[in-house]
């Protein structure tokens, strides 16, 4: 299929950036690479929070930090909406009347802080809600289709890294897709559903457990998932991961 596509280009850019900095691949490296490749001012990654609505886990610049914190303070804005609805939110001009109406507190303050366009992509796999990938731009304008497609790829890799961290999987420089969901067969998602019932946990927690065990046992995720679906393997509370 179309390998050598956007996925390879973006992952290649992320690993090259990490290598140039002499650091391992991380969310921060990913966000820096996104700024270098996309026409945006700043990037932030937030995950669903416990006490607060969201938890900022990576941010590249003061503008993005200010905008994320602003939303938490006033309780409205695109990140919070994308987290709640799991839909992407593409704001080409924050100063347009519809956005002042939608976010009467956030819009004027965000513009004051220097933001004009915002593109937020949810990080999700079915019912698993991993957070959001947010792009901030200091001038208005649409994100060209090619950049938007690339932003989605960055978002998917960001999700991969968030999930790896949650499953305590060490992200190697190689393609993280061995544990990813890009080409995962349906059995992986079916197994996630089954594990969520077996352990009485959320879909996100079930998926993290499945990934952790595949990593620990050095098994392809699809193979372990098939064992779960065919009832050769059950998850119990005693399992680590």
């Amino acid at each position: 299929m179309t390998r050598g596509s956007r996925l390879d280009q973006v992952w290649g850019a992320i690993t090259a950036h990490a290598a140039a900095r002499g650091v391992p691949v991380s969310l921060h490296v990913l966000c820096e690479t996104a700024i270098a490749r996309l026409p945006v001012t700043g990037v932030a990654v937030a995950i669903p929070g416990g006490f607060l609505a969201s938890e900022l886990i990576c941010v590249t610049d003061p503008l993005s930090r200010r905008l994320e914190e602003l939303q938490l303070t006033i309780g409205e804005g695109p990140t919070l909406e994308a987290l709640a609805a799991s839909l992407s939110i593409l704001v080409e001009d924050l100063d347009a009347p519809e956005y002042h109406k939608r976010w009467p507190l956030f819009a004027p303050q965000a513009i004051d802080a220097g933001a004009r366009a915002i593109f937020v992509m949810p990080l999700r796999i079915g019912a698993v809600r991993g957070g959001v990938f947010a792009l901030y731009v200091n001038r208005s304008g649409r994100l060209p289709a090619n950049d938007l497609a690339e932003a989605w790829v960055f978002a998917q890799f960001a999700l991969e890294l968030v999930l790896n961290e949650r499953s305590r999987i060490i992200t190697q420089d190689g393609y993280p897709l061995a544990y990813g969901h890009f080409e995962t067969p349906p059995e992986v998602h079916q197994a996630t559903g089954m594990i969520s019932v077996q352990l009485g946990v959320t879909m996100g927690e079930a998926f993290a457990r499945l990934r952790a065990r595949a990593f620990a046992d050095d098994l392809p995720l699809s193979e372990l998932a098939t064992d779960v679906v065919t009832r050769r393997i059950r998850f119990t509370h005693g399992d680590t991961g």
Partner: protein, 250 residues
């Protein structure tokens, strides 16, 4: 072949074109498309692949389980008529897969082994935009009549327009966004199948049958129902209670 069921054909076109209704559900929509292909075009099995935002095909619907496995095999081995069709945007056909090993060295033997002898792959295309392919399989060496492939292509065209409209009109979303939503909805349904399979000690395939039957009976969108199953607001017991006439809370 048998005379075509014209009433069903007309009804199918109306259904495929009608993506703007409130209860539109993309997962259900794609399943209807493959089921109707089997019924109307006199083929043994039909499958549908759509490209995700990375331009990679994903199996979105298959009328049978062995076809789903064969479609996955094509993707994994990067070999087969559906991929050729998607890449070129042109219909691809082979009347006898038993002698197609030169063309598809990995796919042809696997297809024959799965019991399929004939394939027709129809592009899902609107002008220059190719969003996927619809694949028709027959268990006998077989050449579909031109009129039949034309109807198949017309169904694929209407479905493509329906999908693209659903994306652009309903939510002002981009195609990328909508394909992402479509893929995600399919994953939600898979997760719900797992939940139900575990709760009722049944297979995921049986769980899917239960979900679809219940969604139809109660006019639920399949994705909404799957979400309710996952969050526990509809229990496995309720789903099994086929005699129930009162719809559950939406």
């Amino acid at each position: 072949m048998e005379p075509m069921n014209e009433a069903l054909l007309v009804q199918t076109f109306v259904k495929l074109a009608d993506t703007l209704v409130d209860e539109f559900d993309i997962v259900e929509f794609l399943h209807i498309l493959v089921d109707r292909c089997v019924e109307l075009l006199d083929v043994s099995a039909a499958g549908l692949m759509l490209a995700d935002s990375y331009g990679r095909l994903q199996v979105m619907a298959s009328s049978t389980e062995n076809l789903r496995l064969l479609e996955l095999f094509q993707l994994q081995n990067d070999d087969g008529p559906c991929l050729d069709c998607y890449r070129t945007g042109q219909a691809v056909a082979h009347p006898d897969l038993a002698v197609a090993k030169d063309r598809w060295p990995r796919f042809a033997p696997a297809a024959t082994k799965a019991g399929f002898r004939t394939v027709h792959a129809l592009p899902m295309r609107l002008r220059t935009q190719i969003i996927g392919a619809c694949n028709l399989f027959h268990t006998n060496p077989h050449q579909l009549a031109l009129s039949v492939t034309q109807i198949g292509q017309a169904m694929a065209d209407v479905a493509t327009i329906g999908l693209i409209q659903e994306r652009s009109l309903r939510h002002h979303e981009t195609l990328i966004d909508q394909l992402q939503t479509a893929l995600n909805n399919r994953i939600i349904v898979e997760q719900a199948k797992g939940v139900l399979a575990e709760r009722r000690s049944i297979t995921p395939a049986e769980a899917f049958d239960l979900l679809r039957a219940y969604a139809r009976r109660h006019h639920h969108r399949l994705t909404d129902l799957a979400t309710h199953v996952i969050d526990g607001s509809i229990t496995a017991t309720e789903l099994l209670n086929t005699t129930s006439t009162s719809p559950p809370p939406a």
